[in-house]
């Protein structure tokens, strides 16, 4: 096993990094229509994303649709081949591995998908769904049936129901089955791709509690991908914010929500409605205009500038030149955490 890379400075996080992502790029080709299909462009889904996931932590990756957060999580596990850049797991380079070479590592790197309806095989029993990873990795020996029952109990399901099929369970229970399956091989890292966004709030809370217990008691590392900032704040120790394929800010959750420094983070925090009528009506807001631009032709320089309230209202023409011409690096600009904005400035919004 090779030595791990040096951790990224200023990103926070303690202990040893388990997953190290450096300058990760993933482009998808856009093909022309017709009989002869030619490549006419690229969807710039992920463009130079770097972060470390530490042992025993939950790192949140938050962004709106099209921000590339799901592509990051899939490329990370080699479910998509990276266009360039690297992912190291405990010092071992993953991005070069073939599917076969990757297989033994899948034991340690698991994923829970968003849609609990699509991610479980409808034709086999729940017991078989949870046992499948054990069989694939040749670990379904004597006692494995008990292990599966124990896994079901662990995630809050009745082990007597193992012979039932996925469709007999509610959405929340199905997501628990998905979690049991991910835990079966005793992984070190679990990527959770929007694990609760399909669930009603009263059900969602139970799954969140379960995940937090599993993370802290078993010392797992979670990459928690979600669009819901309130959920993020609750589960994540550190949060990375993505916009149009790039990380724009990364900070400990408490700091990120108390004093966001990137105008996009500020807009996101402002846009979340608070379930408190008095606060909600009295709060200060930073709103953005328009929609996310196409990732096929992302804006030059800072990708957020086309919607940035600071760019539109506060900057002088000469200041704007930097936004248009230079891609802002994700570095500490005096606020204590890395921010990818030439004119970052912490604002208290809550």
């Amino acid at each position: 096993m090779t030595d791990p890379l040096p951790p990224l400075p200023g990103h926070g996080g303690t202990g040893d990094p388990v997953l190290q992502v450096r300058d990760l790029v993933k482009h998808f080709p856009v093909m022309s229509k017709g009989v002869v299909r030619r490549r006419i462009g690229d969807v710039h889904a992920v463009c130079g994303v770097s972060f470390d996931l530490y042992e025993n932590e939950t790192l949140g990756l938050v962004g709106e649709s099209g921000s590339g957060k799901t592509t990051v999580s899939r490329t990370l596990l080699n479910l998509e081949t990276a266009t360039s850049g690297s992912v190291h797991y405990r010092g071992r380079l993953l991005t070069d591995l073939s599917r076969r070479q990757m297989r033994p590592l899948r034991r340690e790197l698991q994923i829970v998908f968003q849609d609990p309806y699509a991610s479980l095989d409808p034709r086999i029993s729940v017991h078989e769904i949870v046992a499948e990873p054990l069989r694939i990795h040749g670990r379904y020996g004597p006692g494995a049936a008990d292990e599966v029952r124990e896994l079901l109990r662990l995630v809050g399901l009745n082990p007597e129901h193992g012979n039932r099929f996925a469709h007999e369970f509610s959405g929340g229970q199905r997501q628990r089955i998905g979690i049991a399956r991910a835990l079966a091989l005793r992984p070190k890292v679990i990527v959770l791709d929007e694990p609760v966004s399909a669930l009603d709030v009263s059900i969602q809370a139970g799954v969140l509690n379960l995940l937090m217990d599993l993370q802290s008691e078993l010392g797992l590392s979670f990459l928690f991908v979600a669009h819901d900032l309130s959920v993020m704040r609750h589960v994540a120790g550190r949060v990375a914010v993505m916009y149009l394929g790039r990380l724009v800010e990364i900070a400990p959750a408490r700091q990120l929500f108390a004093r966001p420094a990137h105008p996009y983070t500020q807009a996101l925090v402002s846009a979340i409605p608070l379930p408190d009528p008095r606060k909600e009506r009295a709060r200060k807001r930073i709103t953005v205009q328009g929609d996310v631009p196409s990732p096929v032709r992302p804006p030059s320089g800072c990708r957020f500038r086309t919607r940035c309230p600071k760019f539109a209202n506060q900057l002088t023409d000469s200041e704007r030149t930097a936004c248009v011409e230079q891609v802002p690096d994700l570095v500490d600009r005096g606020g204590g955490n890395p921010v990818a904005c030439h004119y970052a400035e912490s604002v208290q919004l809550l």
Partner: protein, 378 residues
Amino acid sequence: MTDPGNGNGKGKGKGIDRVVAKGEESGAVLEVDDLRVEFPTEDGTVRAVRGVGYRLERGEALGIVGESGSGKSVTALAVMGLLPGSARVRGSVRFEGTELLGMSDARLSDVRGSGIAMVFQDPMTSLNPVYTIGYQIAETLLRHNPGLGRRPARARAVELLGTVGIPSPERRVDSYPHELSGGMRQRVVIAIAIANDPDVIIADEPTTALDVTVQAQILEALETARAETGAALVLITHDLGVVAGHTDRVAVMYAGRIVETGSVEDIFYTPRMPYTLGLLGSLPRLDHEEDRLTPITGSPPSLLNLPPGCPFAPRCPMRREPCDSTEPALRPVGSDAHRSACHFADELVDTAAGEVFDAVGADTEALARFADLEDDAR
């Protein structure tokens, strides 16, 4: 104003005057009484709505919250007369005093749009993909004002697109729905909804399909649209945050009934129904840190064969006699406006969610065993 057709004449007035004029009128614009909706299926009768009643004052905003399957959308569709023919609808829905249930489809079409307008969740399915958005807005205008003429209708369409915040509306008016983003499409749907100056807008999860930054824009557009028309709003959503910021009163639905109703302050600060309390305790908050969430265990009941008693009882930590035998009525708690359907609503005075619900997580014994095995494996 018993004939909804009369509503057309006011379409030409300007926003501000109308708001004042409407403020002077009093009384309910929409009254729903003991609404019941049943769907016969092969497995039996699904009782989707089981006696819902509310009263919407002029210009007021009522939020209806509930989780999937609580009957909130079916209630709205029943009010609009948009349920399939197989649905059995009983009770009463009165718009400005006129009974809508049982009204012929032709007459109902006069009310829809000019009296009550609806904004659906998915703007792609509520817009017609083969016509320009300008054409679709004009069509709505001409349906209720046949004498308006194509050209003025188009001019009004441009004006409406501007109102809901579509940039360069004179250019966008000739766009097709697929050329617009989800947020822009939803603005078009709102423009169509306010085109004939309705008295009531029913918005069913209008921002659920959208990203949060766009959601904030759409809610703002909806507020602008309401200010322009003075319309009352029924906002149906599962998002308690959206309700907190945009409505005056709230009705919480569970298993086809309203289980608690009151002012937004009543519902958010002094809930008196365990389900409402549980919902609030389940919410992760952006504005403060909570140690643990307190989920509601179990899942909502099937509306196919609902047992007697309180439908929330199987999930309720306060359950005892007579919860399993008698379904509680919605009765006043504290003020007359604040009502709760719980036998033990009085016990919830000054009670936090954590005092009633457990912060259930992983099974601790199973977790300990699993962690031990983990250590052995190393």
